[in-house]
Each structure stands twice: as structure tokens, then as C-alpha cells.
Symmetry: C2
Subunit: 169 residues, 2 copies
């Protein structure tokens, strides 16, 4: 057993702030979306991802991986989204076990209606308070963290991350 390498005072300080951001930022995003769009941030992410995909549909397992959620979590969520009429489930034709989530027109409309306020919030909470240099640094830092967090490439969305309902496409 190695002797524990505790955090230095400087590291402690940075870590405390990082923890606060990790707590407050998602809470803010969730709160805004909940109030304005009756949607979790996770739910928003799923709708957004579907909206970017040709056919506006995805296999459940792909979807789960792309938004970093468990299959179970996604299944429950899609169940709720389905009840709200924003998503519909279809059986995969190439694989009888699979399900495909399809974004309905109502779902697309709801997403389109919610996106501006959400993007405005993200801008005001994050990009407006950072200089372009800091944004670039944040990009490098998050890339390094992700490389450790999701060993599978560090870019879980490499398959399809281009444009999204939040970028006006």
C-alpha cells in the first residue's frame, strides 16, 4: 500500500472550485430546461441528438453511448418521452432484438422551441464569462480529462457530432 499522496493546497483549491462547478452548472441547466421546456438536460440531449441524425432516429444502444447514459436510463427516459408524444419506438428491421427511437414532428417542434432559451443560458453561464483563450484552454483540458474518463477514444460521439438542433442547422 502506497502512502497516500494528498492534494496540495493549490490542488485542493482548484478541486473545490471544480466540484462547485460540477454541482451548480448541471443544476442550472436542468432547472432552466425543466421550467421552460418540461425537459431534463439529459432528455434535451437525447432529443437534440436525434434531431441531428438523418432520419431523426437512432438505435437505443447507440443513443445511450452517445449521451453517456446507461441503457436502462435511456429506456426509462424514452418511455417518458414517448408518453409525451415526442418520440416513438420502432423495432429494428436488421436486428429483431433492437429498438429504434424516432423523433416525432411534435418532438422536433418542441426541441426547436426550447433551443434558443437553452443556448442563451449556456452562452451566458459559460461562453460569455470566458475569453476565447480560456475557451481554447478548456477545450484542451476537457479533452485530456475525457481521454482518461472514457478510454474508448475520448470522443464517444466521433460517429456523428456535426451540427445539432442547437446550432440552427
Amino acid at each position: 500500500m502506497e502512502p497516500t499522496r494528498w492534494l496540495s493546497d493549490g490542488e485542493q483549491e482548484v478541486w473545490q472550485r471544480m466540484l462547485a462547478v460540477l454541482t451548480l452548472l448541471p443544476a442550472e441547466l436542468d432547472g432552466q430546461l425543466q421550467r421552460d421546456a418540461d425537459l431534463t438536460h439529459f432528455g434535451y440531449g437525447v432529443l437534440a441528438l436525434l434531431s441531428e441524425t438523418p432520419g431523426r432516429s437512432r438505435r437505443m444502444s447507440e443513443l445511450a453511448a452517445l449521451v453517456n447514459g446507461s441503457q436502462s436510463r435511456l429506456s426509462h427516459l424514452v418511455g417518458r418521452l414517448e408518453r409525451q408524444g415526442w418520440v416513438r419506438r420502432e423495432r429494428a428491421d436488421d436486428d429483431g432484438r433492437g429498438s429504434v427511437a424516432v423523433l416525432t414532428d411534435a418532438g422536433y417542434a418542441h426541441l426547436a422551441a426550447s433551443a434558443p432559451a437553452h443556448v442563451a443560458r449556456v452562452r451566458s453561464l459559460v461562453f460569455d464569462v470566458l475569453t476565447p483563450t480560456q475557451v481554447a484552454q478548456l477545450g484542451t483540458i476537457t479533452a485530456a480529462l475525457l481521454a482518461r474518463l472514457s478510454p474508448a477514444g475520448g470522443c464517444p460521439a466521433s460517429t456523428a457530432r456535426r451540427g445539432n438542433a442547437s446550432d440552427g442547422s
Copy 2:
């Protein structure tokens, strides 16, 4: 209504990675603590904070503010911690409405036993993958984000952030 200022491609990319970190890092921390210490990361934070305080006790409302949680959340949590024998509640003597959470010896022992593995995890997930320069940049960036997120000073813990059970004191 202003026309929506969508995110640029570069901002999108950084934001996607930031979201992934916001999802995966807390999940990792929670998972590790759950397995090794039967504790939420939030619960760990509360025990750690109590352990740093002279008297190992804090008013509920102070505690809630310091860990960025709601009073209700804290009340439920302390209830559970109490049932596990790690914390005890006392009535505040200066204010009949108030409660004070006190870390028990068992609670302190449990925290001390869990800290090394937790710190090791934080180190391996965060500080080991960043250069000292990046850590400094992260410090500046999180400070800027916090200034916007918690208007009340950006340093909610300014009252008492010195040393903690994770720094070996």
C-alpha cells in the same frame, strides 16, 4: 426578442466535451465512493466538511450552503447518516429553530478510512492527467464560471475552506 446567437463549431465542440466531463466525472466519483465507502459523493463532502470544522459540527443551513445543496437534500442526507451512526443531530443553543450536525467518532473513522482511496481516484482522474499549467488554467476558468454561477461571492466556502480530511490534517 434577440435573434439567437448559436454556438460556433468550435464552441460546440468544447461544450460537448464539457458536457461529457460533467456527466462522467461525477458518475466515476459516486461509483467509487459507493462501492468502497457506502457513501454518495455528496455525503462524503458533508462528512469531510464536518471533519474540518472545529468541534466537528455545523449548523444545517451553513452546511447546506457550503456544499451547494438544498436544505431539504441535506436534511434527508443527515437523516440517513444519522441512521448509520456517522452523524448526530443536536438542537442549536443560540437559536431554538436550528439544528447542528455533529460528526461522531464512528463517522470520523469511516471518513478517514475512505479518504485515501477517494483522493487516489481524484488524483488519477484529474491531477495526473493535467500539467501544472493546465491545473492553473483550470483554476482560473472555474473561478470565472463560479463568479457567474454563485453570485454570492463566487467563494461560498470562504468562511471555512482550510485543510480537510482529504489533506491529511
